[in-house]
């Protein structure tokens, strides 16, 4: 019982001493002043286990190692000591006073913080102080091999990083500290699978080397382009002077930074001379092809047209020429496909655009030739490949009706064609040739003449009518004209022989008889003076006129036996003329 009591007391004392033990959480740095090229070790150590360790964000440093955790537990003389350490390896980024902020941790529910420490970073100090490092950097080399330092724009180059290690030294581990970023390049790295140690020569000496990485680069800019070096931190095994019991040299591990050195690539621009207009930046050796899945189909069926470029070169970087198709074809956005492998010599394979085409109407549709230009690196000239013109023949389907291109042309109102048959019409067999010389009726002399001449008819008609009315109005003149006309009709013979006595009176008598015969419808045989008088009086001819007529007839008879002057003849002629006209007027 007493023993148990004692044990209990002991335990209480023990636990209380543990509970009462001071929690410590501290930052320890390996040095407070260091050169820019030196490393700094920072330990955050605590004497009790805690959670949620929160390191500071090492502003001004880059973390090259860590965090490494170490825990040590020890009992010395029954006293337990515990230590847990987080350690970091830092390298300063710049000179000056850098502040290491405080870290925090939770121990038993309480948060502990370390003090901030100021680190002074000075200029780079002479290095290496460690002779092992000299040996290491003499024996270990990182080399960047560039396949071509003056490529053309978009010409593939490769950069291979090799790590040369001299015989007798070894590399147990490495870490990349600086990874080159290939600005202004299109890059793809082809990392070798596993490391293969090969033998090679470096500056005439035998070395072993491994290829760390290979990268294919396509320069995207002309001019001097800089490839930042690849930097490695190598843990090298360096032989020491000490030997083990078997006589072999003991190796010691040394941290060595190695760098491949900065490389400058002088990128040549592509020549301007002979640069095709449709050049879109393709460099290499290509084949260009335009193929269609069908050449004959019906409307509303689909077909594919494939524009493809195959060969070697910057396939992923080039733009394929666009296909231009007749407006009456329905074309969908092309489907782009790439089948490109990248190896050390560059990209190889095929890129293609596949267009889906659905014709809507019957007819023939040409796919115009499209061309693809590229720069051939072997001949250093531009080359152009043109596709053949392909015809899509749509056999069945509705006919595209509207001609949509009518302008303000003559006959534009009739250009909206409504087709009554859906066939391509055959040629015409009747030529109906006409001369090419255009004869325009409008504005020709014939046009003006035929337009204006008819109008002249109107004034002419007016004048004509006016004249007629005038004549109708003039009674005396009318009578005279009538007498004239009658005289002309019957007395013309007599007038001709005016002056020759016998002939005149014979003609005059004959003329008078003829007149009466015509007027009274009588025969010559029963034409006596009395009968004439009777007939004329019957027809309402005035007595005086009849007497005049008779006297003329009498004169005609008398004249044969008596001398008669020309004046008398004239008088007789006029008298007979007036008498005839009077009879003509009065006769019913």
């Amino acid at each position: 019982m007493k023993l148990t009591k004692q044990i209990t007391i002991l335990l209480i004392i023990l636990f209380s001493s543990i509970a009462g033990a001071q929690v410590q959480f501290k930052t320890k740095v390996s040095k407070k002043t260091l050169g820019l090229n030196e490393r700094l070790r920072v330990d955050f150590s605590m004497n009790k286990d805690g959670d949620n360790f929160n390191p500071p964000d090492f502003d001004g440093f880059s973390v090259v190692g860590g965090p490494n955790q170490s825990v040590s537990n020890s009992w010395i003389n029954g006293k337990r000591s515990f230590e847990k350490t987080y350690s970091y390896f830092l390298s300063p980024k710049r000179m000056g006073s850098l502040m290491l902020e405080s870290a925090s941790i939770e121990i038993n529910g309480e948060t502990y913080k370390t003090d901030a420490i100021v680190i002074k970073v000075t200029k780079e100090i002479e290095k290496p102080k460690d002779p092992n490092n000299i040996i290491a950097s003499d024996n270990i080399h990182l080399v960047a091999e560039v396949s071509k330092t003056n490529p053309y724009l978009n010409e593939a180059i490769t950069i291979v990083y090799k790590l040369y290690v001299a015989q007798g030294t070894g590399v147990s581990n490495w870490r990349e500290t600086d990874d080159p970023e290939y600005d202004d390049f299109w890059s793809q790295s082809i990392n070798p699978r596993g490391l293969k140690i090969e033998k090679g020569k470096y500056k005439g000496e035998d070395y072993q080397y491994v290829v760390l990485r290979r990268t294919v680069l396509y320069p995207q800019k002309s001019g001097k382009l800089i490839i930042e070096p690849l930097k490695l931190d190598i843990v090298a095994d360096i032989p020491t002077r000490r030997r083990d019991i078997f006589g072999q040299r003991l190796m010691s591990k040394v941290n060595v930074p190695v760098s491949a050195g900065r490389r400058t690539i002088n990128v040549k621009a592509l020549p301007e001379e002979g640069k095709p207009l449709d050049f879109s930046g393709a460099v290499g050796d290509f084949k260009f092809n335009l193929s269609t899945s069908k050449s004959k189909l019906n409307a509303n069926e689909s077909m594919q047209a494939k524009v493809s470029v195959s060969g070697k070169g910057n396939l992923k970087l080039l733009t394929l020429p666009k296909l231009t198709l007749p407006n009456s074809l329905e074309v969908y956005e092309p489907e782009h496909s790439e089948n490109v492998r990248t190896n050390l010599s560059g990209m190889q394979g095929e890129v293609s655009d596949s267009y889906t085409i659905v014709p809507q109407y019957k007819g023939k549709y040409p796919i115009p030739t499209i061309s693809f230009s590229y720069f051939d690196l072997r001949t250093e000239t531009y080359k152009r490949i043109s596709s053949n013109e392909t015809i899509i023949n749509v056999l069945e389907g509705p006919v595209y009706g509207a001609s949509d291109n009518s302008l303000t042309a003559e006959g534009s109102g009739t250009q909206n064609v409504v087709l009554d048959n859906d066939q391509f019409a055959f040629i015409k067999t009747k030529p109906n040739f006409i001369s090419k010389k255009k004869s325009s009726f409008f504005k020709s002399k014939a046009f003006w003449a035929s337009l204006l001449t008819p109008l002249l008819a109107i004034p002419l008609a007016i004048v004509f009518r006016k004249k007629r009315e005038q004549r109708a109005g003039d009674i005396e003149g009318n009578r005279l004209r009538k007498a004239d006309r009658l005289a002309k009709k019957y007395l013309s013979e007599a007038k001709k022989s005016l002056g020759q006595k016998d002939a005149f009176y014979v003609a005059l008598e004959k003329a008078l008889h003829n007149y009466l015969k015509a007027k009274l419808n009588i025969e010559t045989s029963d034409l006596s003076k009395d009968k004439i008088k009777k007939l004329l009086l019957e027809r309402n001819v005035e007595n005086t006129v009849v007497v005049d007529f008779k006297s003329i007839l009498k004169n005609c008879e008398l004249a044969r036996y008596t001398p008669i002057t020309t004046v008398t003849m004239q008088q007789d002629y006029e008298k007979s003329a007036s008498t005839i006209s009077l009879i003509d007027k009065q006769i019913r």
Binding site: D404, L407, N421
Partner: protein, 251 residues
């Protein structure tokens, strides 16, 4: 003088007869599918100074069969200029237009201007001129009948109808002049270059206004050195190199 005229007539007569023979030969070649041979025969006729809508139509058909887009459209348009109402030509032109790449909308015309254009385009200005002459003759005849006829009713009818016909004659004459001016302005051309840039100014430095493709019909508005100002049916204008187009009005 008279004899010379007869000789010329006989000469032309013989050319015409010869051309018809060549035309028949060419048609036979076409029917056999020898389109290029047929075209060379048709060309002989064209060079002899004679043409016809049918000849242009057949040439266009042969070019269509040979897939010459611009040439076939060019000759169809020529045929259509001579015979604007021919159904076969319109039909095959629609087929040829299918091969074109450019799709150009028409500028819509509205109201009165559309109506006037429609009326004007019923026939050519020569047709209108003939109609005007006929109307003037009708007017004169009616007027004379009115002038010489008796009776108020008759006079009234003839007077009114004669005035109506002279008014119509003036309207037709106006249309004739308008149609003539349209015809003078109308200077269509076909784009022959497979693809050509139309510039905003008549020089190579200027900006590209738009791109035209083979077979598109344009209106030529103006020309400066080696450039033609053109207008599309949708109202867009620009300058195009003279070598890229071919005018339709040159025979």
């Amino acid at each position: 003088m008279k004899n010379a005229l007869y000789i010329i007539l006989i000469f032309f007569g013989s050319i015409s007869a010869q051309n018809e023979k060549i035309f028949d030969q060419a048609n036979t070649l076409y029917n056999e599918g020898k389109f290029s041979d047929a075209l060379s025969r048709y060309d002989v006729i064209l060079n002899s100074g004679e043409h016809s809508a049918e000849l242009y139509y057949n040439i266009a058909n042969a070019h269509y069969k040979l897939n010459n887009i611009a040439l076939s459209i060019y000759y169809y348009e020529k045929a259509l200029a001579l015979k604007p109402k021919d159904k076969d030509i319109q039909n095959n032109l629609a087929f040829a237009n299918n091969m074109r790449i450019d799709a150009i909308d028409n500028l819509p015309e509205v109201g009165l201007s559309k109506f006037i254009k429609k009326v004007t385009n019923i026939q050519s200005f020569n047709g209108w001129a003939k109609l005007a002459v006929i109307l003037v003759i009708v007017f004169v005849v009616l007027y004379l009948v009115y002038y010489f006829s008796f009776g108020t009713q008759k006079k009234r009818i003839f007077f009114v109808s004669s005035i109506l016909s002279i008014v119509l004659a003036f309207i037709v004459l106006t249309i004739t002049f308008y149609s003539y001016s349209l015809d003078k302005k109308n200077n269509p051309a076909i784009v022959f270059a497979q693809e050509t840039q139309v510039k905003s100014e008549p020089n190579l430095r200027s900006d590209e206004a738009f791109v035209l493709h083979e077979g598109t019909k344009v209106q030529v508005l103006d020309s400066v050195n080696n450039w033609n100002e053109i207008m599309l049916s949708n109202g867009k204008t620009g300058w195009i190199s003279k070598s890229d187009i071919k005018l339709l009005n040159t025979f």
